[in-house]
Symmetry: C2
Subunit: 217 residues, 2 copies
């Protein structure tokens, strides 16, 4: 009889411990904020790149400063990069001719697809390849941000009307507090940057300089 009672107590302890155990997602690294560094690859940033954005190179020092500040604050650094198959099968349709009639852009393993010097990712940073404007389109970006508990995303990179804005719109749709670090983002012309900032502000997306990011976050 004693043995039976002892066994039941043991069994109940195990059941109780299992019921109390946390769901495994609780044990991954947690971050309130993620910096999304968008498309800072040679093909978009370097004057020799296939789709060079005029304003992109000048933002490298500001993006470096933003990332440095983010590391001090334990923010997650996420690099969103374009990666396309040499055939162009996975590129936005209007850009297929760049692949069928040219050498394409951001093909993995080529210089054009590499992240620019000065912004090389560190070991614990995330690199998420994408094939469309939005970093959320057909990627695991939302899943990993959710798991890490990210509430706020701060966007840097290029360029305003396409990948920055596409990613910002989806970030807002997925309920992240969405912040554009204005001097860390770029466009072909200042006018294009300005009209996109105007539209995004009206959508409820916060568009602020690195100085303000430092003050508010």
């Amino acid at each position: 009889m004693k043995k039976v009672v002892l066994m039941m107590v043991c069994l109940m302890s195990v059941v109780f411990a299992l019921a109390q155990s946390k769901y495994p997602t609780a044990d991954v690294e947690k971050h309130d904020v993620a910096i999304l560094v968008i498309d800072m690859q040679n093909d978009f940033v370097d004057p020799r790149g296939v789709l060079c954005v005029a304003g992109a190179k000048a933002t490298i020092p500001t993006i470096q400063d933003l990332i440095k500040y983010g590391r001090e604050k334990n923010w997650k650094i996420v690099y969103l990069i374009r990666e396309h198959h040499r055939s162009g099968v996975d590129v936005d349709a209007p850009r297929i001719p760049l692949f069928t009639k040219g050498k394409g852009y951001c093909v993995p393993g080529t210089w054009g697809g590499d992240i620019v010097d000065g912004l090389k990712p560190e070991k614990n940073d995330l690199i998420i390849p994408k094939t469309r404007n939005s970093g959320f389109f057909g990627t695991q970006l939302d899943l990993v941000l959710r798991r890490m508990g990210v509430k706020t995303v701060i966007l840097a990179g290029t360029q305003y009307p396409n990948c920055v804005r596409g990613t910002a719109n989806d970030a807002m749709s997925y309920d992240y507090e969405t912040v554009i670090c204005t001097d860390a983002c770029s466009a072909k012309t200042p006018e294009v940057a300005a009209s996109n900032i105007f539209d995004m502000k009206n959508m409820g997306i916060k568009c602020i300089s690195l100085d303000k990011v430092r003050k508010e976050y």
Copy 2:
């Protein structure tokens, strides 16, 4: 022996018929083109609406003409509409105060959520509710367009920087030929319309007037 041969012939006929049967998606209605009429609801179009877009009302006659042309060409007419719960639980985060501190907008069953007079859907049109800028976000839009064999989407409605552009960007991402019928879309100001058309053209989205739609499609 004769019976066995007869049975085998019957059996083979059945197998052959089954092998030839089409996949059921082949039997739904087919359309090359769909017109997406975006957010033409009282809250966005009528001056008494909660979020009235200044340019929207003036586009009603052009949208009527576009739809009339589309019906003649056997295009599918799809109405994308905002629908939000009175609590605001399903609205874009920056707009939550409109629900918690006000009466909200585009709540089903209210005048504000109704499609405007002059653009009431017909029986075979599709009405797809959405809760974000893009008509593709969390909706069945891509699934139904795919099933009907739609290759080209022509966008009409309001407003340029938010729901028109968000839907256009996703349509392009999903590989639809994406056309903005420029005089059937609207914004708060002509400048906002112009800068969005400029950006979308650069993305590879076709931005043309109804006259040109009639000539090219």
